[in-house]
C-alpha cells in the first residue's frame, strides 16, 4: 500500500539528529513494549509480514507522530483484536474481561535465549529456477497495490541491474494477508540515482533494493 511507512525520498522531516550515547530505551514502558510485542508474536498467530502491514496501516497522521515503539503497540492491539485474543472491552477496562482462544505457543522465560538465538528464518526452497541472473537488466513493476508490498514507491517502474541472486524467500505480499508463503527468488537490484531521482541526482550514488522475482520484468 502507498502508506505513511514508505518514506524513501520524502522531504520535510527535519534533521536526523543522532543522539550521543543513546540508551537502548528512553522509558521503562519501551522495554515492556519490546517484550510484549515479541512475546505476543511468539504465540505464532500471525507472521512478521502481517505485523509490518498492521503498522503501516496506521493513519498517516498517527504514524508520523508516533515513536517506533508506539507504532508497535498500536499495531499489536490491532493484531490481538483481529485474532480474537483481546477485545475492545479488555482494552477499555485495562484487564482481562473476555476469554481468549488457546494460542499455538506461550513463550516461557526459560525458552527466551533459545528462541531469540534461533530467530525466524524466512528462506524457503523455490521449485522453479531463478528467472534472472547476475548482470541482467530488469525493470521494476509499476503498481500500487492496496495490500502489503516491499517494493518501495521510489523504486517502482525503474530500470536496474541484477547484482546478486539471493535465495528463495517467503513472499510478503501474500503472506501478510494469510494467503500463503508462496516463496520466490529474491534479487539484489541496483539503480543509478539518476534513474530514481532524475535531474540533479548525485552522480556518485547508487541505491539497491532486495526485490522478489514478481516485482521484476526483463528490461
Amino acid at each position: 500500500m502507498n502508506g505513511p511507512h514508505d518514506l524513501g525520498g520524502q522531504m520535510g522531516f527535519g534533521p536526523v539528529a543522532p543522539e550521543k550515547d543513546e540508551p537502548y530505551f528512553h522509558a521503562e514502558w519501551e522495554k515492556r513494549a519490546l517484550g510484549v510485542t515479541l512475546t505476543a508474536g511468539a504465540m505464532g498467530q500471525w507472521t512478521i509480514d502481517e505485523s509490518r502491514h498492521a503498522r503501516e496501516c496506521l493513519h498517516p497522521a498517527d504514524y508520523c507522530s508516533s515513536s517506533y515503539y508506539e507504532i508497535w503497540i498500536k499495531a499489536l492491539e490491532t493484531l490481538l483484536k483481529r485474532h480474537g485474543f483481546v477485545s475492545a472491552r479488555d482494552l477499555a477496562e485495562g484487564r482481562a474481561v473476555d476469554s481468549a482462544p488457546q494460542p499455538k505457543r506461550v513463550l516461557k522465560a526459560e525458552n527466551v535465549p533459545a528462541v531469540l538465538a534461533k530467530g525466524g528464518p524466512c528462506d524457503r526452497p523455490v521449485d522453479a529456477p531463478a528467472r534472472f541472473k547476475v548482470g541482467d537488466r530488469v525493470r521494476t513493476k509499476n503498481f500500487h497495490p492496496t495490500g502489503h508490498t516491499r517494493l518501495p514507491r521510489y523504486a517502482r517502474d525503474r530500470n536496474g541491474v541484477v547484482e546478486a541472486v539471493r535465495d528463495g524467500f517467503v513472499f510478503p505480499d501474500t503472506n501478510a494477508h494469510g494467503k500463503g508463503e508462496n516463496p520466490q527468488w529474491v534479487y539484489a537490484v541496483v539503480f543509478s540515482a539518476a534513474e530514481i531521482w532524475g535531474e540533479g541526482a548525485d552522480p556518485t550514488l547508487t541505491v539497491s533494493i532486495d526485490a522478489w522475482e514478481s516485482y521484476l520484468e526483463p528490461a
Binding site: H5, D6, L7, G9, Q10, F13, V16, A17, P18, E19, Y24, F25, H26, A27, W29, K31, A33, G35, V36, T39, A40, M43, R52, R55, C64, S65, S67, Y68, Y69, I73, L76, L80, V86, D90, L91, G94, A96, S99, V106, L107, K108, A109, V112, V115, L116, K118, G119, P121, D123, P152, Y154, A155, F169, V186, D202, T204, L205, V207, S208, D210
Partner: protein, 217 residues
C-alpha cells in the same frame, strides 16, 4: 514521567510537553501496562519472558558483537573472504545468530566506495550483530533522506567523504540484514583483534560513521 527535552526522536510527539505528571502514568506507559496485564491474565504471555528479552538486548546482544566480526575480518583474510561469501555462517561461527540476523549480508567499504544501510519501509536492522536500532534509524528523517541525499545524512554524523567517492545505499526491503565492514584505519598494523574491535563503532557498521582513528580510541 517526563519526556526528555534532549530526546531527538521524531518531533510533535503527543506527549512532548514540559511538565511533570506526579500522580498518573504517561499515556503510553499506561497503555502498554494495560496490554501486558490483559495478556498475562489470559495466560498468553509470561511477564518473566519479557524481563528475559529486555535483559538480552540490554546486556548480551549489541554492537560489540558486530565489532568482533569486523575486527576478525580485518585481521584474517580467510575469514574476510568467508564473510563476503556467506556472512550468515561466518558470523554464526563467532556465536552471533538469531532474531533479525537470520540472513546476513556483509558489505565491505573500499577506498572507492562507501556503503550505507537503511530500511525505508520500516526498521529492519541486524539485531544479532548490532543489537536494537537507535531511534534515529527507525525515524522518518533518516529513512526518507538516506536514499536521496546520503551525503547530507553523513554530514549530520560529521562524516565528509571525497566528492569522487562512490556511495552505495542498501535499502533493506527483504529479510537480508546488512553489516557494513568499514575500512581499517591506518596505523593499526599488528594490532590484536580485541584492540581493533575498540575502533569499530555501531555507526561505522551502519555506514553513518567511519572506524575510529587509533589516536581517538
Amino acid at each position: 514521567m517526563r519526556a526528555s527535552a534532549a530526546r531527538p526522536r521524531f518531533r510533535r510527539m503527543p506527549h512532548d510537553h514540559d511538565h511533570h505528571h506526579d500522580n498518573e502514568l504517561d499515556p503510553m506507559a499506561a497503555r502498554v501496562k494495560a496490554l501486558e496485564t490483559i495478556l498475562t491474565q489470559k495466560g498468553l504471555i509470561d511477564p518473566a519472558a519479557i524481563d528475559a528479552i529486555v535483559e538480552t538486548y540490554e546486556t548480551k546482544v549489541g554492537p560489540r558483537n558486530g565489532a568482533k566480526v569486523v575486527a576478525k575480518a580485518w585481521s584474517d583474510p580467510a575469514y574476510a573472504e568467508w564473510l563476503k561469501k556467506d556472512a550468515t555462517a561466518a558470523i554464526a561461527s563467532l556465536g552471533f545468530t538469531g532474531r533479525q540476523g537470520e540472513h546476513m549480508q556483509s558489505v565491505f567499504n573500499t577506498p572507492d566506495t562507501h556503503n550505507l544501510v537503511v530500511c525505508t519501509l520500516c526498521s529492519c536492522y541486524p539485531w544479532s550483530v548490532l543489537g536494537l536500532p537507535p531511534v534515529w534509524y527507525k525515524s522518518p528523517p533518516y529513512r526518507s533522506k538516506a536514499v536521496i541525499d546520503p551525503r547530507g545524512v553523513l554530514s549530520e554524523f560529521g562524516v565528509s567523504l571525497p566528492a569522487e567517492t562512490k556511495i552505495r545505499v542498501w535499502d533493506s526491503t527483504a529479510e537480508l540484514r546488512y553489516l557494513v565492514v568499514p575500512l581499517r584505519p591506518k596505523g593499526t598494523e599488528g594490532w590484536s583483534e580485541e584492540r581493533l574491535a575498540e575502533l569499530v563503532t555501531r555507526d561505522s557498521m551502519i555506514g553513518t560513521g567511519l572506524a575510529l582513528e587509533p589516536q581517538a580510541a
